[in-house]
Structures are given as structure tokens and as C-alpha cells.
């Protein structure tokens, strides 16, 4: 009798095909071009560091959930995304134990301590990067030029080269010449594994927007704000800044498209996302132009992460029907 096996449940009775896994997989796909660029410029060691980071994140997630008798969710790809993003924030020269420490910190301390997927109030990859940078500043800033033939397993013993922003800032690397804009755009410069190739990051970022995984709001406002502010507040007076270099370097693309758009730690309201982008742009510019560090993308995002719940609270959208009643 058919009546006995009819399913009764609440509407809607159809759902979109998108799942958490498919969304995360899209992010992995979007990060792949930049990973290929990293392998090309920094060699197999970049791939190895990435693999170790990803593996650490996945193992950390598995271990935490196993120990706490929680459902194992490593096949949702979210730990993989965190792993790739963390690796992208490390120099290719780091000793291999460091991504392991970073991966565990990102997943256990930043993500699981606060309730797991969707509950972390900071971007796990960025928080782990900040933790590593504070703990091992030398190893974390040992930049190498592209095509340096890094040894695969041994920690490379190299002299750090300067990043374009450091040169721009004129602090530690005074006298070195700036790379060309083409080099910046393609990624043929020193830097962390995943931040150098603007072209490849843009391809990935546009893919995410095209697939509607992220909206344009955060990346566009973030990048535009940095461009405008670094141009206005130039070293040689107003409206003399080198905006193009600022926009194309220092992980801004990586941060704007992939880190600031982290779902859990960014606002959910449309207006809030615009505030997030502009806010992160302002803080990045202030750090780069007037702060002690040459680079400010990570800290700006982390600071805005903390403000995100507050931003959401005060940017609740105007609901439909919030209009004056006609007399």
C-alpha cells in the first residue's frame, strides 16, 4: 500500500544541489592556479610545504573530532582549504615542522576551540600565520627569489631577499630596485608561497565570484580602498603614491579574494561586507604607510574579523515593507 510509505515533511521539497563540500571544493579549485604558479616559481618545495600543511590540518581535524567523539567531517574539504591558505602564507623556505605546528594551531585552537566549522571568529589560516610570525619571525620572513633551486627536504639556508613592499617602504632593503609591474603581476618576485602571482589569484578569485561562492563586495572594496589610499597618501605628498605597486603586491589579492571572504569570520549582511572591505583596506594602508611592518593585509583582516559580529549587528538590512504607510 503506497499510503504507508509516503514521506511527509515540511516545504520546500526541493533543495539546491550545492553542498558545503561542493562550496569548499570550489575554493580548492580556485586556489589551484596560484598553487601551480607557486610550484613554477619556488619549485617543488612549495608543493611540499603545501602538502604538509594541508595534511596537518586534516589530521588535526580528524584527531580532534575522534578524541571528542564528534562526527568526522574531514571530507567536507574545509580543513583542506585552511591548509592551502595557511601554506600560501608561508615562505617556501620554512622548516617542515613549522607548517605542522601552524596546521594544528589553525584547526584546533582557532577553529575547533570555538565550535568548529562556521563558528570561528577569526580566519584560522591567518590567525595561525600571525602565531607563527610572532613565534618564529626569522624563519617566517626568509624570502627567496623565484627559481632559487630550493632543496626539497632540508631546510634551505638562504639569504633573505626583499619583498617589493619592503623595498617600497625603504626600510630593510634600501637601495634594491623594484621589480617590474609585469613581474609583480605574473608573480616572478619574492614572497610567500601563494601571494606572489596576481594573475593566478585573480583567475581564482573571479572563478569564485562567477560560481557565486563569494560576492564582489569584500574583494572589490578592499582592493579599491588600498589603491585609493596608497595613491592619496604618497611618500612625496598627496596624490603621489605608488598605488599600482601597493595593489599588486604583498598578498593583497590573496587576502582580498580568499582570506577576507572567509564565511565564518566575515559579515553576512551586504552592507557589512562592504564595511569589512573598506575597513580592511584602511587598516592595510595605514600599516603599510605608517606602521612598523611593510605588510598589513593579514592583520587588517584579523582586526576586521573581530569586528564582524558587531558590524552584522548594526547593518541589518532594511526589510521589505519598511516603508511609510500611505496616509
Amino acid at each position: 500500500m503506497i499510503n504507508n510509505r509516503l514521506i511527509v515533511s515540511s516545504s520546500p521539497h526541493v533543495r539546491s544541489e550545492e553542498t558545503v563540500s561542493s562550496v569548499m571544493l570550489d575554493v580548492v579549485i580556485a586556489l589551484t592556479p596560484a598553487l601551480i604558479a607557486a610550484a613554477y616559481f619556488f619549485g617543488f618545495r612549495a608543493l611540499l610545504v603545501t602538502a604538509v600543511t594541508v595534511l596537518s590540518c586534516v589530521v588535526a581535524e580528524y584527531a580532534w573530532q575522534k578524541v571528542n567523539h564528534q562526527p568526522i567531517t574531514i571530507n567536507d574539504w574545509s580543513a583542506v582549504v585552511t591548509g592551502i591558505l595557511l601554506a600560501f602564507n608561508l615562505p617556501a623556505t620554512v622548516p617542515l615542522w613549522m607548517p605542522v605546528v601552524g596546521g594544528f594551531f589553525a584547526i584546533i585552537v582557532v577553529k575547533q576551540f570555538f565550535g568548529g566549522l562556521g563558528q570561528n571568529f577569526m580566519n584560522p589560516a591567518l590567525a595561525a600565520r600571525a602565531f607563527l610570525l610572532a613565534s618564529w619571525p626569522v624563519e617566517m620572513t626568509k624570502w627567496v627569489d623565484p627559481f632559487s633551486n630550493l632543496p626539497l627536504l632540508k631546510t634551505p639556508d638562504v639569504i633573505s631577499s626583499a619583498t617589493p613592499l619592503a623595498i617600497l617602504k625603504g626600510t630593510e632593503a634600501a637601495g634594491q630596485t623594484m621589480p617590474s609591474i609585469t613581474s609583480l603581476f605574473l608573480g616572478n618576485i619574492g614572497g610567500t608561497i601563494g601571494e606572489t602571482s596576481v594573475l593566478m589569484l585573480l583567475i581564482g578569485g573571479l572563478w569564485l565570484i562567477y560560481r557565486k561562492v563569494i560576492s564582489w563586495r569584500i574583494p572589490v572594496t578592499f582592493i579599491a580602498t588600498v589603491g585609493v589610499l596608497t595613491f592619496i597618501f604618497g611618500k612625496d605628498g598627496f596624490f603621489t603614491g605608488n598605488a599600482i605597486y601597493h595593489v599588486l603586491s604583498g598578498g593583497l589579492m590573496l587576502g582580498a579574494f580568499f582570506m577576507a571572504t572567509d564565511y565564518a569570520s566575515s559579515p553576512v549582511t551586504p552592507k557589512g561586507q562592504i564595511i569589512m572591505g573598506i575597513g580592511a583596506g584602511i587598516i592595510t594602508s595605514v600599516i603599510r604607510l605608517y606602521g612598523g611592518y611593510p605588510e598589513g593585509v593579514s592583520y587588517s583582516i584579523l582586526l576586521m574579523n573581530i569586528a564582524a559580529p558587531l558590524i552584522d549587528r548594526y547593518t541589518t538590512p532594511v526589510k521589505f515593507g519598511e516603508v511609510k504607510v500611505r496616509a
Partner: protein
């Protein structure tokens, strides 16, 4: 060709699946041996039975009388003998139902006579005829039409909109009605305009129904005061508030009625029913039902007598496939899943949708990842994730602050959620709790 498509903010683009039935001509359904006619087929008070067991009734004869102003008359959809009046499980719950054994003669009741001449009828006449005929909103909301035709005096109505959006996936009953009976649909609009004393009428149709747009246009080409508005195909374009916004740019204020901003909306099927009530005097005793979905062997559009069981209707469509798992009254977004096939087709049954096992596989809800897709999809500008979260946490005050009561229950949030969270279910729960607290 199309210049600007009219639309609203938010919404989703589900898989419409209209191709199953959109080109199928409306077929006359077989009339069953027994009809079971619920006395509640509308929003408002149940109708009172005015026949007794054993009475012989004729087709179109009134058998249930509207109980108060917001209620609707109910008529016999066949001629025959009343064999029982009892409470039965119907689409919306257990309701008093009149069961008539069909004598097969379809003998029309003597009271049925056409009026034909619209110019001879006053607003009051029109209201009375529509009231007599038991007409209610046939798009699914089932609000009594005569109530809409007599808005409070202080509401100055200047716009009448016919809703031909049919934004629910799968359903094509309105679509086929517009293609096959455009003159009746438009004539119904003229009746409504006259009844309300309004100049301007609009007919809104989504652009995925070009043949319906063309058919209506052909009928309207000499009507100066009727405008056909081509709408973007997007769910819930046919939501009352969304449709008014798309066509007039006006926003129905929160917790208010469309008539307060001068608008009255009728479904195109309702308009046709009104036309037939005026022209022929036929009360609402049959309607077009789209029987569709992978779970039905031969999907089609059927003209079905009110009170026919789902089982009979499905049988006429070749029956269910083996993997049929869910039978829905209405569309997949807002329809109601039925636990039994014995329920009757009512005035508001626009479709019977049967989904198969693999289409309704249980989806395990995942934690919210705060992707904000529900925020972009909500046509009411709410934050569904926050509303649902506050309900889940038992914080009904917060849920009120997040405007839970403005939710129109369209289901866009649940549909779009990649974590497969039952957001709308939480919101419904919250609304029910708030309502019971108020009592």
C-alpha cells in the same frame, strides 16, 4: 525584443521542470463515482452544510453556506446522493466533508443562469455573484474573492493585478489556462475592474511562458487600460508582495494589506472562474490541476471536479511509478506533502506533484557556515540564518527583532542553503511559538 524585465530583490532560480506539462493541453478528467467535498477549502470560517445525508443534489447546487463574511460557499461538483457528512483527513487537516455518490447524469442545478451583460451589473451585483459562486484565490492562498472585491472604504484601490507569474516549479495550470482560455482570463479582469471601479489592470507573466504572453496579448490588443507586464523568471515572483513591487514599484508595508497601498491581486485562474461565474453562472466546482513529477507515469494538466481524490487523479495519469515517495499538494516550494492519497482536490489545488525516492533523499543538516546565501535569497530582506539560529536557541525576543513575523515562508532560504539546514522549518516553529504566547 524584451527591454526591461520587471522583478524584485532576492529570490532564487530553481530547476523549473515545467517542460513535463507546459505543452500539454488541458484534458477533461474522468468524473469519479464518489466525490468528497471539504467544507473548508478557503481561508476563514468553515462553511455550514445545508444538505442532509440522503438528499439528492444537482451539479452546481450549494451544499455548504459561507459562515460569515470571510468564508466561502461550497457547491456540489456532481449530481447524485449525499451519502455521508463526516470529518475526514484533507489537505490541510481533518475537516467536515460532504460525500456525494455520483449518479453520472451531471444534471445542472436550476439556480444556474448566466448574466452575460457586464454593463448591466453593479459592483454590488458582481460581488454577490462571486460570493454566491464560492470563488476563492486559486493560486493556493484560497482567500475568498468576494472579500477582495469589497475592500474597506478607506482603502482607495487604483490598481488590479492578475497574477500569471506561476513561479512555483513544475506547475503549469495557470500557464495552460492563459494559453487556452485567454479571453476568459481577460474578461474576468474586466469584471474585477468594474467591480472595484478601477481603471487600470495589469497582467504579470514570467518570461518563461512566451506562448501565454502572446495569447493574452492577442486578446488584449484593443484594451487600452490593460497592460501585460513581462516578469523575470525568478521564484517567488508570484508572491503577492513581490509581484506588486515588480509591477507598480510599491512596497506593501510590513504587517499591512496590499489594498492599503491601492492594489488588489487575483490569480489568472481565479479571474477565469469569475468570468465563468458571471457569464454562465457556474460556481467553482472544477479546476485545472497540474499532475506532474517523475513519480507520475503520464504527467498532464487535468480539469478536475472539486472533491475528486488524489488517488483517482493520479490513476488517470497512469498511476505512480515504483519509486514514488512523496505526494505534494501544490508545488515543490510551498506545497504540502500528503500522507494519504484519499485527500480531495480542492479549490486551491493547483497541482499534484509526485517526487521519487532519489529526489527526496534525506539530507543531513550541517552546521551553518555563514555563507550568507540565504541573506541574498530572502525576498523579504531578512537574515534567515539569524532568525533560525535565534529560534533554535529559544530566543524568541531576538527572533522578533530579526523580523521573524515578516517571513512569507517562500522557502528560498532552505532551498539555497548548502548546509541543508531546515531554516524555514525553524522559522515556522518560531512563528507558531510566538503566536501561542500571544494568546
Amino acid at each position: 525584443m524584451e527591454t526591461k524585465l520587471f522583478s524584485f530583490k532576492g529570490g532564487i532560480h530553481p530547476n523549473y521542470q515545467k517542460q513535463l506539462t507546459q505543452d500539454k493541453t488541458i484534458e477533461r478528467g474522468l468524473v469519479p463515482d464518489v466525490v468528497r467535498i471539504p467544507l473548508v477549502q478557503h481561508i476563514g470560517a468553515p462553511a455550514t452544510p445545508i444538505v442532509k445525508v440522503g438528499d439528492h443534489v444537482k451539479m452546481g447546487q450549494q451544499i455548504g453556506k459561507a459562515n460569515g463574511f470571510i468564508s466561502a460557499n461550497v457547491h456540489a461538483s456532481v449530481s447524485g446522493k449525499v451519502i455521508a457528512i463526516e470529518n475526514r483527513a484533507q489537505i490541510g487537516g481533518v475537516v467536515p466533508t460532504i460525500i456525494i455518490e455520483n449518479d453520472g447524469s451531471d444534471e445542472l442545478d436550476d439556480s444556474i443562469k448566466g448574466y452575460w451583460h457586464l454593463e448591466d451589473l453593479s459592483s454590488q451585483d458582481i460581488m454577490n455573484i462571486v460570493h454566491e459562486a464560492g470563488i476563492v484565490g486559486m493560486g493556493g492562498a484560497t482567500f475568498p474573492s468576494h472579500v477582495k472585491l469589497s475592500p474597506p472604504k478607506e482603502h482607495k484601490i487604483d490598481t488590479v493585478i492578475l497574477n500569471g507569474a506561476e513561479c512555483e516549479p513544475y506547475l503549469t495550470s495557470d500557464h495552460r489556462t492563459m494559453v487556452e482560455h485567454p479571453e476568459e482570463v481577460v474578461w474576468g479582469l474586466k469584471v474585477i475592474l468594474k467591480g472595484l471601479g478601477v481603471e487600470k489592470g495589469y497582467i504579470g507573466i514570467e518570461n518563461n511562458k512566451p506562448d501565454a504572453i502572446q495569447a493574452i496579448k492577442n486578446v488584449c490588443n484593443k484594451e487600452q487600460n490593460i497592460e501585460i507586464v513581462v516578469l523575470e523568471t525568478k521564484y517567488p515572483q508570484g508572491g503577492e508582495k513581490q509581484l506588486i513591487k515588480a509591477i507598480t514599484g510599491r512596497e506593501v508595508p510590513s504587517k499591512r494589506l496590499p489594498s492599503e497601498i491601492g492594489c488588489v491581486i487575483f490569480n489568472v485562474g481565479t479571474s477565469r472562474a469569475i468570468a465563468r461565474a458571471i457569464k454562465l453562472g457556474i460556481p467553482l466546482i472544477e479546476r485545472v490541476v497540474t499532475v506532474t513529477g517523475k513519480g507520475v507515469k503520464v504527467p498532464q494538466n487535468l480539469l478536475v471536479r472539486i472533491g475528486t481524490s488524489f488517488e483517482e487523479v493520479i490513476k488517470q495519469c497512469g498511476g505512480l511509478v515504483d519509486s514514488a515517495a512523496k505526494v505534494i499538494s501544490g508545488g515543490p516550494m510551498m506545497g504540502i506533502a500528503q500522507g494519504s492519497l484519499e485527500v480531495s482536490v480542492t479549490k486551491g489545488t493547483s497541482g499534484i506533484l509526485v517526487l521519487t525516492k532519489d529526489e527526496v533523499a534525506e539530507m543531513k543538516p550541517y552546521p551553518c557556515i555563514k555563507c550568507a546565501r540565504c541573506v541574498d535569497a530572502c525576498p523579504m530582506g531578512l537574515l534567515p540564518l539569524k532568525v533560525a539560529n535565534t529560534v533554535q536557541a529559544g530566543e524568541l525576543d531576538m527572533a522578533m527583532e530579526y523580523n521573524i513575523l515578516d517571513c512569507i515562508e517562500c522557502g528560498c532560504c532552505s532551498y539555497i542553503c548548502p548546509a541543508k539546514r531546515p531554516l524555514l522549518q525553524y522559522i515556522r516553529l518560531g512563528k507558531a511559538k510566538i503566536r501561542s504566547q500571544k494568546r
